[in-house]
């Protein structure tokens, strides 16, 4: 924390403790404010722009029947003034009620409970994959700086962040599913496949919990291709970031000091370089994870993966306000939570921050 001067500093001092608990409390409070801000923005923007959710969600004959329209508006609270709608929404939110989706006609919370785990599953696999691949490539690239492997990896990672995901997904699907037949089809399970008993909503995990290894294999094979397509971008991001942070740390005096001790290079990298680099890499991985959730829209669309991305797309084009707000809030919460987690990790891992008084 940077030192501050004068009265303002005094106030800050009174408001804030230095310990770990006040830190967490403070962060949690701001996080809640942020989430409310997110709802406010999505609410405002969707209200500001033209468009009529009633027309979007009623058939043509129903729409010309005023009784049905009125009933519909009443059901979804659209007959209320806008500020009242928002206040009501917030009030309901406190009770865990995210409203009813206009397009699916069921509580948004149920929709999210169904779609979020599906996206979480591919995003988690993608991040997991890209974390290790990106870390590995980044390290190789940094230590072979400007040599051939580095050049190749740099082009590769730049290509990764430059691929239009929707196009990659299409191409990958066509090749691996249709031409080569390696990938199973679209969706999370084969047609009529029985999802495992719902515990986490992640089919792979649930299948393992249920001890159903066949379903696990099936679920895993279905998620692999979309996850890999998602991972391409994340690998690019993480490789580049890893390379840059390692190069930066390699320039530090303490690395030179470690080399001057005659330590083998792997030890220098692992102990002296990777540890501080990991801190920032984890930050980026955390944020990448949150952005994968949002970025899954285009990929899910191609793989008809029944996840948050598709839900978001349908909510957006259907002007399904509760749906849009629900998705925004989930993604924002994950983002904020990841950031919080990263900050906590920072404080735990880095003694410099712990010691600084």
């Amino acid at each position: 924390m940077e030192p501050v001067l004068g009265k303002q500093g005094l106030k800050k001092r009174l408001l804030s403790g230095t310990g770990f608990t006040p830190f967490i409390v403070r962060r949690l409070l701001t996080s809640i404010l942020l989430v409310i801000g997110v709802t406010f923005i999505s609410f405002t923007i969707t209200q500001l722009v033209p468009g009529d959710p009633v027309a979007a969600n009623l058939g043509q004959s129903a729409y010309s029947d005023p009784a049905i329209v009125a009933a519909f508006e009443k059901e979804f609270g659209l007959d209320q003034p806008v500020p009242v709608q928002y206040i009501k929404y917030l009030g309901n939110l406190l009770q865990g009620d995210f409203g009813v989706s206009l397009s699916s006609k069921r509580p948004v919370i149920e929709d999210l409970r169904e779609y979020f785990p599906a996206t979480l599953e591919i995003a988690a696999v993608a991040v997991f994959l890209s974390f290790f691949v990106g870390l590995f490539l980044g390290i190789v690239s940094a230590i072979t700086r400007d040599k051939l492997p580095d050049q190749i990896i740099r082009v590769f990672s730049l290509t990764g962040v430059s691929m239009p995901a929707f196009w990659t997904a299409l191409t990958a699907f066509y090749i691996f599913f249709f031409v080569l037949g390696w990938a199973p089809g679209t969706g999370r399970l084969e047609p009529g496949g029985e999802p495992p008993a719902n515990v986490t909503g992640l089919f792979t995990i649930d299948a393992l919990i249920a001890g159903d290894f066949d379903t696990f294999k099936q679920a895993f094979s279905y998620l692999l291709l979309p996850a890999m397509v998602l991972a391409i971008y994340a690998i690019g991001v993480l490789t580049r970031f890893t390379r840059a942070s390692i190069l930066e740390i390699l320039g530090n005096d303490y690395v030179r000091a470690a080399r001057a001790k005659g330590l083998p290079e792997y030890l220098v990298i692992r102990r002296h370089v990777l540890r501080p680099a990991l801190l920032s890499i984890i930050t980026v991985a955390g944020v990448a994870f949150a952005s994968l959730l949002a970025g899954s829209v285009l990929v899910e669309n191609v793989f008809s993966w029944p996840g948050l991305g598709q839900y978001a797309y349908r909510a957006a084009i259907g002007l399904d306000l509760p749906g849009i707000m629900g998705v925004s809030m989930v993604v924002a919460t994950v983002y904020i939570f990841m950031n919080l987690l990263v900050d906590i990790l920072y404080r735990v891992i880095d003694p410099q921050m712990k010691d600084s008084k």
């Binding site: 030192p3 501050v4 001067l5 004068g6 500093g9 001092r13 804030s16 008084k357």
Partner: protein, 323 residues
Amino acid sequence: MKEIIKLSDVVVDYYRNGNTVRAVAGVDLTLNSGEILGLVGESGCGKSTLGKAIVGILQPSQGEITFDGQVVKKLTRGQRPSHFRNLQMIFQDPYGSLNPRRKIGVQIADGLLVAGMSKKNALAKAEDLLEKVGLPRAAISRFPHQFSGGQRQRISIARALAASPTAIIADEPISALDTSSQAQVANLLVKLVEEFKMGMIFVSHDLSIVRRISDRVAVMYLGKIVEIGTVDQIWNNPSHPYTKALISAIPHADGNSFMPKDLPGDVPNPLSPPTGCRFHPRCQLAKPDCRISEPRLVRLSDNRDVACVLQNAGTSPNSISLD
């Protein structure tokens, strides 16, 4: 001689994570026109803080600083009142004190433009100033990275001169320079002080340089001035054990293998300064009393003040021996 800067009981605090760091803990000081006052002390003792408070970058939480009879106000977001523009500062880092992305000419001219001069005149004046600090006039359209540290420090000085200062706080202006540039810049400062009859506070941790160019020296320890006097008095006749230690720690480049004496321990954390005399934990002559009562700066003779119990008790300054 005119008193140009006067400090009375100045205290400067930093607030950090809910703690108060008292970096300057009650300083009385005066600076006269045409004199160079050296301010020395170990790292972290509050020299820069004091300097910044004098020009108004920091707000003292107690006490008063006057410049030319007017109380110095903290810099605000608006324009600095014009009469305070005669009070300038030169910074230690020759790299951070110039904007790397602007030509040096406009940086020097800024001070004149702000004062209302036309752009053309200001640039012409900037060339004059460059010449004054010993740089070619053509340098006006170059960028800082095209200059060495010493030259940059000259540019900073030219920039300060643009405001026709009557007093300059120079915060370690030569510490970051090579030996040969050090001498050049120090000479330049001395020359300018004489030429313009300015007063200058020359902050340094290097007593030997201070000794060459200053008229008086103030020795600072943990936020307090522990001794003030003329250069000769301080160097030849240090009255405070700390001053003495400081002097005997300077190595001599005479080829006689003189081994300087170290002062054990570090400057204490200003967060929790020692009780009584702030120097007592590192003082070989400390008496039980030193732990309790804080010595005040007392006048020993003309222009000579010291804050040490041993002196207060009337012990003759010369009787202090650390060996």
